[in-house]
């Protein structure tokens, strides 16, 4: 099976993250950039499928030149090769434009299965897998907590707030996964060394036949127009128990939608 895993480089969600003051895009320069956490689960799932069914695993990344570091890290987990779509004109692209570029890149890769994380920790819009499947004209199996493969038949358990749904489709398909699906492996030292020798193909917009005007900040269907820092944490709200403290606590939790 020919598997392509979408990997996005994002600012580390565990560290301080900022938007740029000039164009309101993610500030990658000052951030510690890492593989989007959910994508590591997609890589792991791809490797497990490869171990069971054979085939090839390719990493596909769209991002600035600095994303090469995350590509190498992804390759150190075990995939065979990578494609890096890199073009200055892509800066500030919206999800629609991203799906267009990725669909164009996938057009060159002949994938039976496209795996990706269900969301990225920076954008968190969760729409990309659907858009991509639509553009490719293939099935979208999204939000999987389990994936089983029988020939060309794919079955996922789609994680929902209440439980899960069983959804099936035939390859080719796009499958997005949550972090409940597996436990990603650590890259091994041998993997780290081998990754340096694995092929990484760089593609520009020109290579993909996508016009610069269709992507980037200028071509974005949505953009952040303004942003401000979250106000500092206030002192909180003190509930004095005068016999009805429990009720007040429950009311607070209900108002805040914790229960």
């Amino acid at each position: 099976m020919n598997i392509v895993v979408l990997v996005k480089q994002v600012p580390d969600s565990g560290a301080e993250r900022n938007l740029r003051t000039d164009d309101n895009t993610v500030d990658r320069g000052s951030a510690s950039n890492v593989i989007n956490e959910m994508d590591e689960y997609a890589i792991e799932e791809a490797l497990r499928i490869q171990e069971a069914h054979g085939g090839e695993v390719t990493i596909l990344t769209m991002g600035p030149s600095g994303a090469a570091e995350s590509i190498r890290k992804a390759l150190s987990m075990g995939p065979d090769k990578a494609v890096h779509v890199v073009d200055d004109a892509l800066h500030g692209s919206c999800a629609l434009a991203t799906s267009k570029v990725l669909a164009a890149a996938l057009g060159t890769l002949n994938a039976d299965l496209v795996l990706c994380g269900a969301e990225s920790t920076d954008g968190r819009v969760q729409v990309l897998p659907h858009m991509l499947a639509e553009r490719l004209g293939v099935a979208a199996l999204t939000g999987a907590r389990k994936l089983t493969i029988d020939g060309s038949a794919l079955t996922i358990e789609r994680q929902t707030d209440e439980g899960y749904e069983v959804v099936t489709a035939q390859t080719p398909a796009v499958v997005s996964v949550w972090d409940t699906i597996n436990e990603p492996r650590y890259p091994s030292f041998k993997g780290i060394m081998a990754a340096k020798k694995k092929p990484v193909q760089a593609l520009s917009l020109g290579d993909l036949g996508v016009a610069p005007s269709e992507v980037g900040l200028d071509g974005a269907s949505s953009a952040v127009v303004e942003h401000s820092k979250r106000p500092p944490r206030s002192g909180g709200q003190k509930v004095t128990d005068e016999g009805e403290g429990g009720v007040k606590l429950v009311e607070f939790l209900a108002t805040e939608k914790f229960v």
């Binding site: 190498r72 890290k73 650590y186 091994s188 030292f189 780290i192 060394m193 340096k196």
Partner: protein, 388 residues
């Protein structure tokens, strides 16, 4: 805005991308698998050694600096950084890795026959087999030449008798590298667990390295075939070369324990308020922190320098002694000083500091005591050996 103590010295800029990636993998494994559990393991004086060995093996840390036979063949600095990260979690866990890779596996790799290498190294690299290294005896630590364990010929076989003491990984080891006196000088032997006459006894009541297995090896008429001997090691220089390997890892490792103490302490002092301002705002605290950062930085740079020399093949034994003596001594001093900043909290296992301090007491005297390393330097400087 705070600057990380290692960043004061621009330490990371001296590393290659590959070295940083390897360090990151070890750090991730330590953060996820070790740190959440290590205080409990220390308190209970019990580690899941087999499971840990497999986890360490899965990333390739066991024998990572050796070539072939399932080993990654990485450089000395990458190995040192792995030791640093492991020891930042716990010296006892780093000891498991050091003994496996730099003592047991190194001995087999350097001195073993082709059959011995093929039989043991791939499984040890994967963490399926655990090794230990039996040199020290109850009465002979700094003076291994006095060892009483003997190996006598009986036909083609060897028969080993004696006792080895303070052996890390002893009771959990599948294979023991045992050094014994023969008519032909000191020779090394591979003793598989389960061999008749070979037994182990754990050393309990430790207040240091509690997250590490320490045992006594008892050899009572252990009969081994001729091919159990390591063919390429003759005399004490064999085991001493292994110890130089392990010591090199400690030069980095000790700085890991120190760094963990210092990071913990800087965070604590920034939050802990005394007389209505953070402890870190007091000049006495800042002096301690600055002094500790200086020693940490110097120790890191020394370790890295020795690592680069090792990679270049120019590292000599006296330099390893200098590194081990300095870095363990300073790490212990840092751990104790950090403890004073943490106050009473510093004596609990809620913070890693007292655990590191207790562990470093062992690190100070194992793999060559501070006194012996001091005398090694004394001999180098004066040309006069003053050991006895």
């Amino acid at each position: 805005m705070r600057v990380h103590p290692a960043a004061l010295f621009g330490f990371d800029d001296l590393l290659t991308d590959e070295e940083r990636e390897i360090r990151q993998v070890v750090r991730q494994l330590c953060d996820r698998e070790l740190r959440p559990n290590v205080a409990r393991w220390f308190e209970e004086s019990h580690i899941p050694a087999r499971e840990l060995a497999r986890q360490f093996g899965s990333i390739g840390v066991l024998g990572m600096h050796l070539d072939g036979y399932g080993c990654a063949g990485l450089g000395a600095v990458a190995y040192g950084l792995a030791c640093l990260e492991m020891e930042a979690a716990d010296s006892g866990l780093r000891s498991l890795v050091s003994v496996q890779g730099s003592l047991a596996m190194y001995a087999i790799r350097a001195f073993g026959s082709e059959d011995q290498k093929q039989q043991w190294l791939p499984g040890m690299a994967a963490g399926e087999h655990i090794g230990c290294f039996g040199l020290t005896e109850p009465d002979f630590g700094s003076d291994p030449a006095g060892m009483r364990t003997t190996a006598k010929r009986d036909g083609a076989d060897w028969v080993l008798d004696g006792t080895k003491m303070w052996i890390t990984n002893g009771s959990v080891a599948d294979i023991a590298v045992v050094w014994a006196r023969t008519d032909d000088g000191v020779r090394g032997f591979l003793v598989p667990a389960g061999t008749r006459g070979y037994s182990t006894r754990d050393i309990g009541h430790k207040f240091s390295l509690r997250a590490s297995v320490t045992s006594e090896l008892i050899l009572d008429g252990v009969r081994l075939p001729a091919e159990a001997m390591l063919p390429e090691a003759r005399g004490l220089s064999g085991p001493l070369r292994c110890l130089d390997e392990a010591r090199f890892g400690i030069v980095f490792g000790a700085m890991g324990a120190a760094l963990d103490c210092l990071e913990t302490t800087i965070a604590y002092a920034g939050e802990r308020e005394v007389f209505a301002k953070p402890l870190s705002a007091y000049q006495l605290t800042q002096e301690k922190l600055a002094d500790m950062a200086l020693e940490l930085g110097k120790g890191l740079l020394l370790a890295l320098h020795l690592g680069r020399r090792k990679e270049a093949g120019t590292l000599v034994s006296e330099q390893v002694s200098a590194g081990k003596l300095n870095n363990v001594r300073e790490a212990l001093d840092i751990a104790r000083k950090c403890r004073t900043i943490l106050g009473a909290s510093g004596i609990t296992l809620e913070y890693p500091v007292i655990r590191h301090a207790a562990n470093l007491e062992s690190v100070l005297t194992y793999e060559g005591t501070s006194e012996i390393h001091t005398l090694v330097l004394g001999r180098a400087l004066t040309g006069i050996p003053a050991f006895r």
